[in-house]
Symmetry: C2
Subunit: 341 residues, 2 copies
């Protein structure tokens, strides 16, 4: 019965004009977040800055792969570019929590060993993806959070910064607008706002970055880094650092990085579900990605996007938001970058 | 190829004398941790205290179900009994981190709605499962960690305590023994101990508690609560609070709670993988549980146990450690409790 419903939903999903690219011969796929990314929101100069940043990230990752680096190193290099660029909601440019802090999450997974590392709720690691990689490579744990994660990262040689490094005026103003709306909603009669979380701000929610790479040894790695969602409660952890939710890689199936309304990706264990559709049902990355984004996640009320790459170079970028910053590199170095549907 | 290997491993797993109970007609399954639980480690009086505690937890959950409570309420009631009992590594009785703190994790998932809640790295929530339930029912988030989780729980009416509430002499002595061994290992020549994590202490690692219940409406819920592993790094989060790793529930497949070496359950996304074997391949809870515990997790070097219950009352308790505190209640109220193989 569930299978039948799933099939129905899949058909419905495709009819709802699935938004995706599917291609072969790729060595890296990348996203800079899904959300309200519409042509009307960007002037040509702004659009160019996003395209340049995405292109630079892809080229940086590609150069590492061409030089023989591992897929983990290539993912790290590409994500560094986006974390260091305040345009994206990761590293510098991360959004603010309800209490005006930057609390970041990141994860990495190595598809050849199924080793993984994650940090969450960190405010002092300049490049959170580096913290995640340190956890994977230099600890026996998979996930460290908060000050414990920062202390470990510092000892492992990862660059720490003062939390003020992450301040950007644009994100601060986004928080102020969200807080103003919270107040308005509270005035409308909800007196329990001390307990209830901030209201949702769908247009502010997305902007996570992520990449999946395929190296010359045929191994996959996937990584994701995010500032989370504007106005989130302190201590909130989303899907990005959860292995199987926002990040997953296995040479035998594919590498995946997600972006969107994280709670829904956590409840559906989105990335592992997609990998299991490939592993247990023989589906392609395109079929699996569409099942999650067109059917399984919307069925609960969520939305967002997902990038997938398998060890044969088959890729899929899929989303159900107005747009997603995204791109891929093919084996011959050709870079493709897209923002809108 | 992977499928073939999996089949081989499955056969090998069965030959390696799978340790499990499988039964039908159950309304609750429960565990109090897997580990070095051998008859030689317990005198009759000690054994009786464990059996009594497990029986009380099962009876408490059963009484709630019989009174028409939801599966979430039954799981909460059963886990309270184990969290409040210092015999188990959850709530009062939690193990200590490397730095001598108690940092607890817990999660709940409602199989009828796929809603979920989790807290991690909390030191002030008397019953961490209550924190997880508050996150599920009273926030729009799925996971909160650290002081943010505690502040939310307090506002939501969950009982907070001073961290000293969680001190027990027995767990403190376990940490001292672990630290002594760390020092010995460091003396043996590892000068990088400032970065490297504590050594492994397999005999101290387990003791998580968890339960899955099936209510009169036919809905499943699963919950898990833990102090983690003795001598863990500060900020370490294990599999218990990760939806899809240590905890998962879906009426369409089953409810699951895991115990063991959490990092391996995270890397294999153990609970969701078991649920997907049921959903995508039509396996039983017994087949799915054995695949994880006999094959998929040992293939990476991990061990532990898992309890599964589906919406038709089919249950499986499976582990590959010397023993697992475990039990189940049938529809007619018959309680079965086991410790050893």
């Amino acid at each position: 019965m569930r299978s039948f419903l799933l099939s129905l939903l899949l058909v419905a999903g495709v009819l709802l004009q699935g938004r995706s690219q599917q291609f072969s011969g790729a060595v890296m796929v990348l996203h800079g977040g899904a959300g309200n990314i519409l042509p009307s929101e960007f002037n040509p100069a702004q659009e160019a800055t996003y395209r340049e940043a995405l292109t630079l990230a892809l080229r940086t990752g590609y150069e590492r792969l061409k030089a023989g680096a591992s897929s983990v190193e290539a993912v790290q290099a590409a994500i560094h570019v986006l974390e260091d660029n305040p345009l994206f909601n990761a590293g510098k440019g991360s959004v603010f929590t309800h209490d005006g802090k930057n609390e970041m999450d990141a994860a990495i997974m190595d598809g050849s060993t199924l080793k993984a590392g994650a940090v969450a709720d960190v405010s002092r690691i300049r490049n959170p993806i580096d913290g995640a990689i340190a956890v994977m490579q230099r600890s026996r744990h998979v996930m460290l959070v908060g000050p414990g994660a920062e202390a470990f990262a510092g000892k492992a040689g990862v660059t720490l910064v003062d939390p003020s490094y992450f301040f950007t005026e644009k994100r601060w103003q986004e928080l102020q607008r969200a807080l103003a709306r919270d107040s308005l909603d509270a005035l409308k009669g909800d007196s329990s706002s001390a307990v209830l979380p901030p209201v949702e701000h769908p247009e502010l929610m997305f902007g996570t970055v992520g990449a999946v790479a395929l190296d010359q040894q045929g191994h996959l790695a996937a990584g994701t880094s995010t500032g989370g969602i504007t106005d989130k409660m302190n201590g909130r952890v989303g899907d990005s650092p959860i292995i199987g939710a926002g990040t997953y890689a296995d040479d035998a199936t594919c590498g995946i990085s997600c972006t969107g309304w994280g709670e829904y990706f956590m409840r559906t264990v989105a990335a592992k579900t997609a990998a299991d559709l490939i592993r247990f049902k023989g589906w392609t990355v395109g079929q699996a990605g569409h099942a999650l984004i067109d059917s399984i996640i919307p069925a609960l009320g969520g939305d967002g996007g997902m990038i997938l790459l398998d060890a044969r170079g088959n890729g899929c970028l899929v989303f159900d938001t107005p747009g997603m910053f995204r791109g891929w590199v093919s084996r011959d170095g050709k870079i493709s970058v897209l923002m809108y549907r």
